[in-house]
């Protein structure tokens, strides 16, 4: 089956190809769902790794998200493309995991440095060790919402409206969170100008 649902040439074909598979998966066709998982797992893993900062946690989040998608498929009405729908589910799963990881702290409170295994990944090695350490620590101090909004905006390059839908808050609130995150992170980098 996988052979006949081979790789897609372009996005339009991919979306059209998803359509039939989604209908089948919603009716309980596991093979159709497996093709969808294959197709979307790379992008979802990349997103989750950027949000969670570790590969292991990203895999757990994506696995949970796909299972949740499988269970919700019968109710999926196709208002958004399947990929967009999944993107939201993964974002929400990661948001919940980030919230659970570190209980919401007062922003002025001194947060503990992130444990090494929780290091927020997308920090380039080009920076000095000390700069990376400071940046990683600052990322660990972001609230779950700030982190998610900032990653989706600055690293995923998503428009504010898309982030607002994915996170379930107003675009103005997304802007405010992205700004706070930029503020906190640039502050941490000031010493390394």
């Amino acid at each position: 089956m996988n052979a006949r649902w081979g790789p897609d040439d372009d996005e339009e074909t991919a979306v059209a190809g998803d359509l039939l598979l989604v209908v089948r998966a919603a009716e309980g066709d596991e093979e159709a769902f497996e093709v969808l998982v294959h197709r979307h797992a790379p992008a979802m893993l990349q997103l989750a790794e950027r949000l969670m900062g570790s590969r292991a946690e990203a895999e757990d989040a994506v696995q949970d998200a796909f299972l949740s998608a499988w269970r919700s498929l019968p109710e999926y009405r196709g208002e958004a493309a399947f990929g967009t729908w999944l993107y939201r589910i993964v974002t929400n799963r990661c948001l919940n995991l980030l919230r659970a990881r570190r209980p919401a702290t007062d922003l002025d409170a001194v947060a503990e440095p992130a444990a090494p295994e929780h290091q927020s990944s997308p920090v380039r090695a080009a920076e000095s060790h000390a700069a990376v350490r400071d940046l990683v620590q600052a990322m660990g101090n972001l609230s779950a919402e700030q982190k998610v909004c900032w990653v989706l905006r600055e690293i995923e390059g998503q428009p504010y409206e898309t982030i607002a839908q994915a996170v379930g808050i107003r675009p103005e609130a997304v802007r405010a969170r992205v700004f706070r995150a930029r503020r906190m992170l640039t502050e941490a980098m000031v010493a390394w100008r």
């Binding site: 039939l20 497996e34 797992a41 994506v62 940046l135 640039t186």
Partner: protein, 205 residues
């Protein structure tokens, strides 16, 4: 991307207002940084330039190298997801099989798989939704010929009446031979036309 969208309403949240030494609002300076129509003030103002440089430094430190998602190894995740999916009990509708005095049943999703496969035996056909409804009410199905609603997409350029006829024959055969399921009304709907996947592309002069 926001780069191409008109300027958003500025500073929706007064709490976030943070003014630079020059009096400009930091959030706005950052939002406009890198746009072609940047405020001319920003280009010369030391405070604004420092703020933009700080943001660019941050971006340079965090922007990931352009690793295409295709390079990510997803084998383990796909396997774990599918293992869990297959363990999940998703009880669907059950369909009665065989004669009136028999007590054999089959899940609709299982019978649908057989019928979709049968439809896809016909060249150029991809099967989508397949609903199989036994006679009787939803809660109390009775024995007798089941109604099938099947959605298919057909490759461009195929003879549709011929194709649908072949699909119907294939369905009836599979239902009888592989399932022992008596079919009543057989409703085949062409939901879309797709590009023939395996045909070589035309070569342009």
């Amino acid at each position: 991307m926001a780069m191409n969208t008109p300027y958003p309403p500025e500073n929706p949240d007064d709490e976030e207002l943070e003014l630079l030494a020059c009096g400009r609002d930091l959030a706005t300076v950052w939002e406009h940084a890198g746009r072609p129509d940047t405020d001319p003030h920003t280009a010369t103002c030391p405070s604004c330039r420092q703020a933009v440089a700080d943001l660019e430094h941050l971006r340079a430190a965090v922007l990931p190298p352009a690793a295409p998602p295709a390079d990510i190894d997803t084998t383990a995740v796909v396997r774990r997801v599918m293992d869990a999916v297959r363990l999940e009990l998703r009880p669907g509708r059950t369909l009665p099989l065989g004669e009136a005095d028999e007590d054999s049943w089959i899940y609709e999703s299982v019978a649908a798989r057989t019928l979709r496969t049968a439809a896809e035996q016909v060249p150029g056909v991809l099967a989508g939704s397949c609903r199989i409804t036994p006679p009787g009410s939803r809660t109390h199905p009775t024995r007798g010929p089941s109604t099938v609603h099947l959605g298919v997409t057909v490759a461009y350029g195929q003879d549709l009446p011929d194709t649908i006829r072949a699909v119907r024959e294939s369905l009836v055969r599979a239902a009888r031979q592989h399932l022992g399921l008596a079919l009543g009304d057989l409703d085949v709907t062409v939901t879309d036309l797709h590009e023939p996947p395996s045909q070589p592309r035309e070569t342009r002069p």
